[in-house]
């Protein structure tokens, strides 16, 4: 370690991901299970921006009906090539969840069918989002 390049958190610093994360929780429901404006209506899309780079995320679909389907992407669907046939999304059915140990600074939720109620938990690193590159290309926005 040199004085010119002091050891610190960073996108390529292993230790930044090995320490336990700090919690980040958001969702469409508040006290009593009432829905906020964050509830996803059919074909609506919501961008979630994290205050720090993530080390893992968990997303739940808490919809009241099976027709409320939640889709997760890491790019806006409108900017994708051949969405949804490109397969660059994950479907979370009613009462389902997905956990992904990934680094990102933002993600997109897209609802189809009935209104979608959802919850999101993320473990955050201490890495500033400015250090994170924009996710695009194969596996993100095109097949």
């Amino acid at each position: 370690m040199s004085l010119a390049k002091p050891y610190g958190v960073g996108i390529r610093n292993v230790g930044s991901y090995q320490v336990s994360g700090r919690p980040y929780i958001t969702g469409s429901m508040v006290e009593g299970g009432a829905n906020l404006e964050n509830q996803l209506l059919n074909n609506h899309q919501l961008k979630i921006s994290f205050p720090k780079v993530t080390k893992s995320i968990t997303l739940w679909n808490q919809s009241a009906t099976a027709a409320g389907v939640l889709n997760l992407t890491f790019a806006p669907t409108g900017a994708m090539t051949n969405f949804p046939t490109n397969g660059c999304y994950r479907v979370i059915a009613q009462n389902g969840s997905i956990t992904m140990p990934i680094k990102c600074k933002e993600l997109y939720l897209h609802g189809t069918g009935d209104p979608v109620a959802w919850k999101l938990y993320a473990a955050l690193t201490n890495i500033p989002t400015g250090s994170m590159y924009t996710l695009t290309g194969s596996g993100i926005s095109k097949a």
């Binding site: 320490v19 336990s20 994360g21 700090r22 919690p23 006290e31 205050p51 919850k119 473990a123």
Partner: protein, 148 residues
């Protein structure tokens, strides 16, 4: 490593999280008041590396948060939180389904559990603790994703 900064445990010390944790076992039956953290407030003696919360109730859901849930109860708990810092209105809480566990890879010094309905639920909390003093842990007050 220098004499001025000896290697030691700390919030940003990776090794503090890599060694196996000290066990923490607790649990209680919550109040019957919807969203109340009475009997659902867990203060850890050291900073955690992982927390597992289990809802032992076979009928009712629970609520997990890192800030007091109800605005009226904020001042009864950690000094870190003040009026306006509740998790309820901000949506910064998670469902804990009936008969299920939730494992969170998280560093924190306290956690809040409440019933989602007006029915008491039996909760157990298991944590892996680091040896990092809780005084080293920053406050979650007004932190985005926790209380705002």
């Amino acid at each position: 490593m220098s004499l001025a900064f000896p290697y030691s445990i700390g919030l940003r010390n990776v090794g503090s999280y890599l060694v196996s944790g000290q066990p923490y076992l607790s649990g209680a039956t919550t109040t019957t008041s919807l969203g109340s953290n009475v009997n659902g407030y867990y203060v850890f003696p050291f900073v955690t590396k992982k927390v597992t919360i289990t809802n032992n109730d076979g009928t009712n859901k629970g609520i997990v948060s890192f800030a007091p849930f109800l605005e009226a109860e904020v001042e009864d708990y950690s000094n870190d939180f003040t009026t306006g810092d509740s998790a309820s209105g901000s949506g910064n809480w998670l469902f804990l389904e009936k008969n299920s566990s939730m494992e969170l890879d998280v560093k924190c010094k306290e956690i809040y559990v409440a019933p989602f309905n007006a029915a008491a639920i039996s909760i157990t909390v298991t944590a892996e603790l680091t040896n990092i003093p809780t005084g080293s842990m920053y406050s979650f007050s007004a932190l985005k994703g926790v209380a705002t």
